[in-house]
Subunit: 356 residues, 2 copies
């Protein structure tokens, strides 16, 4: 009965991207669905907040467009920008594109200048931290907004992209042996279980974001770091040697994480791992990276797809049994699976075209 | 490195209650620990919020007392009141007792008059709901604040107690066959998975709150409802027939809940079930209620205690294996286990004293 703007934004983005770049998906029904979703988001998701006059995006909306919840984070806004930018490319709507960039400006301001517009009370013990999700999402948005655009747009976001990369690299900790999910804004390890948290799927996703960026920048050192640190490390500590699959959360000191779902196998870390290792292999041709891809592929395709009814399950027990049997939910929409298949197909097509 | 005010408030309450009412725990070190915890809470947990001048309690504090997070709910305040009232009884501090009652007044105002002081933005799609936790906690607080006090205090909270009972009874749905965790403020079923949610442990806890209240009020109909609806029903649908133990969450229509941890076996629902069935048996002497108690007892004591190192584990897989191996965490403190043992011991002592 309610729509998540993350799920809806991701869906609109994916429909548009497929329509725009993959011939067999250039179908009117896909475009119409994307336009309808985009119109809903544009009309209802943006909410003017309090006295600041700033815009926030609702995290959750009723079927008829009433805001249910506004999170005090940036993620609803990120998916809003993704959706609006990609849709504007498909339908050639410059106003919409401008709107996406305006929201991006506000988002940059919240992250880098003044977070008070997010609505969190300023508390003395609430020390700002560098959570991996924030620079990752911003880097993803920079790549979205600059793709195929002229040099002035690329120039506009160049410094932000460098800042994102630097913030992501701060998560390499423990003398280069672990990617910690949360660090201080100065890039030091945080105390307690928050500081010790590992999120292998997230590190792998950051890995292919960095790898993609390193190619555009022709930055070989960043390429090596993306592969050796953000892919190889989380694979080493994140893979369940007993049952296979990637853990959702771990503790760098081997303690038990406090997240109840830490040992579950979720679909999206496996999606990110597939993209990461195939992209890394396509760039380096190192056979061990293809082996990693194959191992993740085998686990993924023998556990997540619902062979009888189609689609993927999202949530397995540590042992690999389906723990939650729905195909779509508050955090599982038309995003990670199709993005994974789309990215892998593109990488494989490129390899075939280059006769590798 | 951080303290939860729920866990700390619960711990202070429990220490004081044991010190005050159980001879073998009337020890100076228990009193000193409780006083130290109470002083910390009183000094640091209350935070003046925004322009309203209202007090909120921080949900999370640093070791040196800085507020990290303030939730937009009432639960930190509830545990603050519990702790302060019980501590004031032990040390005879009337100011502290007054403070607890003042916080209670504000809490009642948030729940029944104006919730804006909680700090949630008023959103058109955010329709107020009746979540079981709220009237349950308030009824628990009424019982705490009125216990052993004079008729004027009891009179003061009489209407609130009736309101709480009525709000809890609204959760009996589906023609009396299920206790739904969330209903509308008018007492109707809510649409979607939020409306279909079952939380068996919570219903059982509400059951013994109601049962206790029904005895004080000599209300036999409420007594029957507490047992037949709030204990028997959640036991019937909440018990895992395959592996034993109570599920954490279920869906009344048999769909899969969206909570990733739905099938896990948590310690606290079992604590609440033990209290509920032993209390129900002691009042009715119906052998089937003793059988329920025995079944829960057997599962609980063969799965949760750590035989080698003491204390209970908190989180098991559906199959009954330890899933998270820590003894204390963000939501597991010195509260549910000792309250369960304390309540059961009291009930058993009373039965022995009455030569049942």
């Amino acid at each position: 009965m309610e729509a998540s703007s993350l799920v809806l934004g991701g869906t609109v983005w994916m429909y548009c991207r497929l329509y725009r770049t993959v011939d067999r998906f250039r179908k009117p029904e896909i475009l119409e669905a994307a336009k309808a979703g985009g119109a809903f988001l544009r009309k209802f998701a943006r909410v003017s907040c309090g006295s600041s006059g700033q815009w926030k995006c609702a995290f959750c909306l009723t079927r008829d467009g009433k805001a249910v919840k506004i999170q005090r984070t940036i993620f609803s806004e990120c998916f809003y920008i993704m959706a609006m930018d990609e849709l504007s490319r498909v339908i050639g709507d410059e106003d919409m594109q401008l709107e996406a960039e305006q929201m991006m400006e506000q988002l940059i301001c919240w992250v880098r200048v003044d977070s008070s517009g997010l609505g969190r009370p300023q508390l003395p013990g609430d020390v700002p931290a560098n959570s991996m999700a924030v620079p990752m999402m911003l880097l993803c948005l920079v790549q979205q907004l600059t793709e195929g655009r002229g040099p002035e747009v690329i120039q506009k976001y160049r410094e932000l992209a460098s800042w994102c990369v630097q913030k992501i690299l701060q998560h390499i900790q423990r003398e280069g042996t672990a990617i910690l999910e949360n660090v201080s804004v100065e890039g030091a390890e945080l105390p307690g279980c928050q500081g010790r948290l590992l999120n292998p799927g997230h590190a792998l996703e950051a890995g292919w974001f960095l790898l993609q960026f390193s190619v555009e920048q022709k930055d070989e050192e960043l390429q090596r770091t993306a592969i050796n640190k953000f892919m190889e490390l989380p694979y080493q500590y994140g893979w369940d040697k007993e049952h296979g699959g990637l853990f959702y959360f771990l503790d760098v000191d081997g303690h038990c994480p406090t997240q109840l779902e830490w040992s579950m196998k979720l679909w999206w870390p496996h999606c990110e791992a597939l993209i990461a290792f195939l992209m890394a292999y396509s760039q380096t041709k190192k056979p061990e990276l293809l082996e990693r891809f194959s191992k993740v592929y085998e686990y993924t395709f023998s556990h997540f797809p619902d062979v009888q009814r189609g689609e993927w399950f999202g949530y397995l027990t540590q042992g690999g049994k389906v723990a939650l049997d729905f195909k779509g939910g508050p955090f599982k929409g038309f995003f990670h699976v199709p993005r994974c298949l789309y990215m892998c197909e593109r990488i494989l097509d490129d390899m075939l075209a280059n006769k590798d």
